[in-house]
């Protein structure tokens, strides 16, 4: 317990310096600014804003990134409530009742409850990271190459479970991602693989190009295809303050949502969508009058928003302790950390405690900042959402281009982003989600390295993966997951959930 307080106080001493508070604020503000745009999810937002953190020292850079992430998630909820057009899949649920509340002139309380719920979940999440981080990192020190490899297999399999649409296509996208991650100079032999004689490719494909192309440009083109059909709830945001009854009704859902979200967040695989969906279903089941749901029930905003944020927060646990990203957003975080010269994982916690705990404390600060700063700014977001998309999107593309360019000060990344934009557009048109690809892309080189090392140690005996108990356990879980998803009944249920959220 004293250790926990010690860690957190170290963290807050880092996070609460003026300089870091300012970076946290800029991150939250910019994250919300881009995240509010309809049709732009957190992955695209982070990819776009990533380059501005490159010139900063590691600690402020990571603090700003965490701020961008929370700002982007919060911006997604704002859009869901005001425009009925979720910026990210986990806000889909918020749309259902949040938008209805907005139409009844109660957008203010809906946004306030979303912020309060997220903040509560964020607090719980932060404490959990501080509690579970150190013991999990201890465990990770016991891991050998075989365990890491099996854990990555498990992570990739779990990512498939929640990919929209076809399972097999999601597996294919992971494989393509792994392959793309291998482009560039092979560390062992020094051979430039798949560079086709292009010198820029021998350093590998920049992950900013992949993320920006597939999530930024690909999504923009899809949005342009769908046309401009959005109805902004600009009539009246209404009073911000939720009434006493609102607060009392939301308390239970927020607590239950946080609990659900925490559990789903720690599991490998990106589970924010499932977390908010299960919270919504649970609240609907528990309600005395379930018919109110879908017509502006405040519980339908409070629970899922808390669940979503709790899952977003706790998904940092596997990343920071084991070094394994569990979803597309976490994959981006790995990329950002690598650029800063930090390898995410157990070493980070012991070697750079100020950075690690500072980042965790700043997560909490960021959540608080969103409540304090964004609620008064809501009327500004409303005005901002009135700008037509046809004026906004060229500017978004411009900032993506400058961002991609400034990674290496070379146009090569920009050309690559254009190629991935086209690829991403067609891939999602043909029912292949870009999320698993990005995850595979980040894990590709790591998987190869650990596979090589494990096989070298075992002298070429592949049974090492099943004879070491932790590794075997993880592979068994992965296999079970695959069998369960393929089982007809689960398959049907999964399709229901996933398709509902995709609509």
């Amino acid at each position: 317990m004293t250790e926990l307080i010690q860690h957190l106080s170290l963290g807050f001493s880092v996070a609460l310096t003026w300089q870091n508070l300012m970076y946290c604020f800029i991150g939250c503000f910019l994250g919300t600014l881009i995240g509010v745009l309809p049709g732009i999810g957190p992955v695209a937002t982070i990819a776009m804003l990533l380059p501005i953190t490159f010139n900063l020292p590691p600690t402020p850079a990571l603090i700003m990134l965490a701020g961008i992430y929370y700002g982007a998630s919060y911006g997604g909820s704002t859009t869901a409530i005001l425009v009925n057009l979720p910026g990210e899949s986990s806000s889909v649920v918020t749309c259902i009742d949040g938008y209805q509340m907005g139409r009844q002139g109660r957008a203010g309380p809906a946004l306030a409850i979303a912020a309060i719920g997220s903040f509560f979940a964020g607090c719980v999440g932060t404490i959990l990271i501080a509690l579970f981080g150190p013991p999990l990192a201890e465990l990770a020190f016991e891991f050998g190459a075989a365990e890491y490899f099996s854990m990555m297999v498990l992570g990739l399999v779990s990512a498939v479970v929640l990919a929209h649409g076809s399972l097999i296509k999601a597996v294919c996208m992971i494989l393509v991602g792994l392959l793309l991650g291998l482009v560039g100079t092979d560390v062992n032999s020094g051979i430039a693989r798949y560079s086709f004689g292009i010198s820029e490719l021998s350093d590998g494909i920049g992950f900013v190009s992949v993320a920006m192309g597939m999530f930024g440009f690909g999504e923009i083109i899809s949005n342009l295809e769908q046309g401009e059909e959005r109805e902004v709830n600009t009539s009246k945001v209404g009073s911000l303050m939720p009434s006493w009854t609102d607060l009392k009704m939301s308390f239970g859902p927020i607590v239950r949502g946080t609990a659900l979200g925490t559990i789903f967040g720690i599991l490998p695989g990106s589970h924010t969508v499932i977390a908010s969906f299960s919270s919504y279903t649970l609240e609907k089941k528990l309600a005395k009058d379930p018919s109110r749901f879908g017509k502006g029930a405040i519980e339908g905003v409070a629970g899922p928003e808390a669940a979503n944020n709790a899952a977003a927060q706790t998904s940092f646990i596997p990343l920071l302790t084991l070094g394994i990203p569990t979803g597309a957003v976490m994959a981006l975080m790995v990329g950002a950390m690598t650029i800063q010269g930090i390898a995410p994982g157990p070493q980070g916690m012991t070697q750079k405690p100020d950075l690690f705990w500072g980042m965790i404390a700043s997560m909490w600060v960021g959540n608080l900042m969103l409540v304090i700063l964004n609620l008064p700014l809501i009327s500004m977001w409303v005005q901002y959402l009135k700008i037509p998309y046809r004026v906004l999107f060229p500017g978004i593309i411009l900032f993506c281009c400058i961002g991609a360019f400034s990674v290496n000060n070379s146009p090569a990344e920009v050309y690559l982003a254009a190629i991935f934009g086209g690829f991403g557009y067609f891939a999602s048109k043909w029912g292949c989600e870009p999320g698993p690809l990005l995850l595979g892309f980040v894990l590709g080189p790591l998987m190869e390295e650990n596979l090589r090392r494990a096989m070298l140690i075992s002298r070429g005996d592949p049974s090492v993966f099943v004879t070491r108990p932790i590794s075997a356990g993880m592979l068994i879980v992965a296999a079970l997951l695959l069998i369960i998803i393929v089982a007809p009944q689960v398959r049907k249920k999964r399709e229901e959930v996933v398709y509902e959220s995709a609509d």
């Binding site: 501005i52 076809s166 097999i168 296509k169 597996v171 294919c172 494989l175 393509v176 392959l179 291998l182 092979d186 062992n188 032999s189 051979i191 693989r193 798949y194 440009f217 923009i220 083109i221 899809s222 342009l224 295809e225 046309g227 401009e228 998309y389 046809r390 004026v391 999107f393 060229p394 500017g395 593309i397 411009l398 993506c400 281009c401 400058i402 360019f405 400034s406 146009p411 090569a412 920009v414 050309y415 982003a417 254009a418 934009g421 086209g422 557009y425 067609f426 891939a427 048109k429 043909w430 029912g431 292949c432 190869e448 596979l451 090589r452 096989m455 070298l456 002298r459 070429g460 592949p462």
Partner: protein, 150 residues
């Protein structure tokens, strides 16, 4: 029974995966394979590449038997103009300078929108040029060339 493409989505996706997997699988033959103990640079990519081809083939075969709605028609105009504007930016940024690249990129991509208004496009090109100059040149001090003559 004549074979017919019942799901154009799966058919296209299958072809795409076979092509990508094939490029990596075949490309790996240029590099040393190594052994299971000392894996060469070709080892892991060839496994992944051929696995992608196999799964892609499965998706392709499935597309002949499972009915699915066809994909929405390709939006060629935004697709081409958006990607062309990005390419133009990449081509111009080092030669013509950041401001030139910005103006060309903004106007080209705006042409890909639903409604194009010259006045709006020119105003946003001017405003964004000023913003880009202020943010990246003045505030962040990144080493950009601004104009063709600078």
């Amino acid at each position: 029974m004549a074979l017919k493409i019942r799901s154009l989505k799966d058919f296209s996706a299958g072809v795409m995966f076979i092509a990508i997997g094939g490029v990596f699988g075949l490309g790996a033959s240029q590099y040393p394979m190594g052994t299971a103990v000392r894996m060469g640079p070709a080892y892991f990519p060839s496994i992944l590449g051929w696995l992608t081809v196999a799964l892609g083939a499965f998706v392709l075969v499935e597309s002949l038997f499972v009915d699915e709605e066809p994909p929405t028609p390709t939006a060629w105009r935004p697709l081409i103009l958006v990607l062309a504007s990005v390419t133009a930016f990449a081509a111009l940024v080092n030669t013509g300078g950041l401001i030139t690249a910005t103006v060309v990129q903004i106007i080209m991509s705006a042409l890909g929108g639903h409604e194009f208004k010259w006045k709006e496009a020119i105003i946003s090109a001017v405003l964004l040029s000023v913003a880009v100059w202020a943010i990246f040149d003045k505030a962040l001090g990144l080493p950009f060339k601004l104009f063709p003559w600078s």
